[in-house]
């Protein structure tokens, strides 16, 4: 019957040109997609491949917490050699023994990082980028730039703000800042933070998790103000969207991104070389100017207008609030439950 005629054709189609399994001796780098991917390919990976001759396979699967879940599930052998996560996962991974300790003798550029910033990530993470939570707003809708996080509660912004979900670490950071602003603290006396978030939830149109969706709301004008990472906020400004961002007077919390190596990585030597290359002065300058973020290296030469809006010096860092990330990690589950009860239930 017909099957005999079509089936071989079908099977052949399926297996034609099966490429050899690509990853013999190449370095697998796991990170993010979108604008991040385009920029890292051009500014970091291509120059790295040129310089060292090492072939890099870029893997854009997963957020930082998903990557860490995968490292944990495979007991340190997730299949990638270098991974971009944040200081929280770096600390956790070191504690769990799942991330390699990074040695300044091997990665010489580690020594060039500002010591207090480098220390935040612990011995297993190399800080390659610093952003902070900024207050992003529509310049065409708000008469004057907001100066305080409490501006989000202004009556004219009722139904015009959006919040990140609890799974987006930005939500926790916002709650901590609000807590401090209202006389609480960032770990033990967090109640004022929850109260503030409940008020914000009543004020908001709801919660979204992914940055891409969050930013779509402010792009089309549905939302007039929201918290957002300043690097991505700057990319929006550069796109010509009528928005701008500020660091409100209560201060803010930085997002410290790190490069990490899982203990079971296959190409550790190449992984260390990659980290060293990413921390190179020229690489950091390229990264800061193209991805619009701050750097932990204090000796980089970048235009003043870029420096003004980024975290690039120890003094900049001191102006930020930094919760104890390990303590936050321990509280996360408890806070998550409370968030569902006290905050989500308040949304319209």
């Amino acid at each position: 019957m017909n099957a005999t005629r079509y089936l071989p054709l079908f099977l052949t189609m399926a297996f034609v040109g099966a490429p050899g399994l690509a990853v013999a001796e190449s370095l697998v780098v796991n990170s993010y997609g979108g604008p991040y991917e385009a920029i890292i390919e051009e500014r970091i990976i291509e120059p790295f491949e040129e310089k060292t001759g090492i072939d890099v396979v870029y893997d854009a699967v997963g957020s930082a917490s998903q990557d860490y879940a995968k490292i944990k599930a495979t007991q340190g052998q997730p299949g990638f050699d270098v991974v971009v996560m944040t200081a929280s996962q770096s600390l956790q991974g070191c504690k769990d023994g799942l991330l390699e300790k990074l040695d300044a003798a091997v990665i010489s550029n580690l020594g060039k990082l500002g010591p207090s910033l480098a220390a935040v990530a612990g011995p297993c993470g190399a800080v390659h980028e610093v952003q902070y939570m900024s207050l992003l707003y529509r310049t065409d809708k708000l008469p004057s730039p907001p100066t305080s996080w409490s501006s989000l509660l202004a009556p004219e912004l009722k139904g015009k703000i959006i919040l990140p979900t609890f799974q987006n670490i930005m939500a926790v950071f916002l709650m901590e800042i609000m807590s401090v602003a209202r006389g609480g603290d960032m770990i033990d006396h967090i109640d004022p933070g929850f109260d503030a978030m409940a008020e914000l939830a009543r004020q908001s149109i709801g919660f979204e998790q992914s940055s891409a969706i969050l930013e779509s709301y402010i792009k089309d004008g549905t939302v007039w103000a929201m918290p957002f990472w300043n690097g991505r906020a700057q990319l929006l400004v550069d796109l010509g969207v009528p928005v701008d961002y500020v660091r409100p007077k209560e201060g803010t919390i930085p997002l410290i991104a790190t490069l990490n190596v899982p203990v079971g990585a296959r190409n550790k030597q190449a992984a260390m070389a990659f980290i060293d290359f990413f921390l190179e002065k020229s690489s950091q300058e390229a990264w800061v100017t193209s991805y619009k973020v701050g750097s932990a290296r204090t000796d980089i030469d970048i235009p003043d207008n870029v420096r003004k809006r980024q975290i690039t010096t120890e003094a900049d860092l001191k102006s930020l609030k930094l919760p104890n990330l390990s303590h936050v990690a321990e509280k996360l589950s408890e806070w998550g439950e409370r968030w569902e009860r006290d905050v989500v239930s308040q949304a319209n």
């Binding site: 860490y68 879940a69 944990k72 799974q167 709801g206 919660f207 549905t222 589950s333 998550g336 569902e340």
Partner: protein
């Protein structure tokens, strides 16, 4: 075929057939054991241990019953799945009947359209619904512009949106299982009844519907289980405000990295669905046994 049975049912197959029955089940069982049962067993085992000390504990189960959120999630999951199963089966039935009976050349088109939702990826279909249902979506835009409503209707981020999205996702599965079942009904029965003067409604009520019960049960079961374990659609259309167990499990796994509590939630979901599935299958088996035994008008 399907004439009045003249003979008594043949004797049950002889004993050796049973052995071969188990033998042909072996490959399926092997695959399910290594890539489902053992991994699940490992996970279940973990649900009874403490994350730090590995000592046996029931703490995770206590948490499930006492935190208030988990039970609420289970309840939402059940309600949502029942609604989806009913919607899929009710909406799917006319289409399935048409597909099973029509000989028009439009049937191919209807078939392609009926299967279409399954062809687009879940994320994108759901995204399509989001564009339609959102506060700033098509429906609300249109109604606002026409001045029919003053503020957006709450069409997204709630039970309604999730049921719409999941019904869309699961409809092809319901339609296919209903079609298969309706095709198994001899069309001559319907023709005969109509020739004898039965109205279409009574043909439907007394012949088609009763005989397609296996398909209906199977459609309800498939839809219920698929809805209860779906993740992407409830996550995108239900958002932070309508969380079902599957969404909560994802969070435990990928955000809180609490395998053990995730395992407890998964076990609760599994038990809920196994119960429903078992009841459905037992109903169907009993029914088909009754049919075989009475061996009356239809066979």
């Amino acid at each position: 075929m399907s004439t009045i049975a003249l003979t008594a049912p043949a004797a049950m197959p002889p004993a050796p057939a049973k052995t071969s029955g188990y033998l042909v089940l072996a490959p399926s069982c092997l695959v399910l054991t290594v890539f489902f049962a053992l991994p699940m067993g490992t996970t279940i085992g973990m649900s009874f241990t403490d994350g730090e000390t590995l000592a046996p504990t029931l703490a995770h189960y206590q948490r499930f019953f006492s935190d208030g959120l988990s039970l609420a999630g289970l309840y939402r999951t059940t309600v949502m799945s029942i609604l989806v199963a009913v919607c899929v089966t009710v909406f799917g039935y006319p289409v399935a009947y048409y597909l099973a009976r029509s000989r028009s050349r439009w049937r191919a088109v209807v078939f392609a359209l009926a299967l279409a939702p399954e062809l687009a990826g879940v994320v994108l279909r759901t995204y399509g619904w989001l564009i339609i249902l959102e506060d700033r979506g098509f429906i609300n835009d249109a109604l606002l512009n026409l001045g029919i409503i003053a503020s957006p209707l709450p069409l997204s981020k709630n039970l309604f949106a999730v049921v719409v999205g999941l019904t869309h996702v699961i409809l092809p599965f319901g339609i296919l299982s209903l079609t298969t079942s309706i095709q198994g009904i001899d069309p001559n029965l319907e023709r005969a009844a109509q020739m004898l003067g039965a109205s279409r409604l009574s043909v439907l009520r007394h012949i088609v519907l009763p005989l397609s019960v296996p398909g209906i049960v199977s459609s309800l079961l498939i839809s219920f289980t698929m809805a209860a374990s779906a993740y992407a659609t409830p996550a995108l259309l239900g958002g932070a405000r309508f969380k079902v167990l599957a969404t909560m499990i994802y969070e435990q796994v990928l955000f809180y990295i609490d395998w053990r509590f995730a395992a407890v939630m998964a076990i609760a979901l599994l038990l809920m669905m196994l119960t429903v599935s078992f009841l459905g299958i037992r109903y169907e088996t009993r029914r088909s046994n009754r049919r075989t035994n009475s061996e009356g008008v239809f066979s």
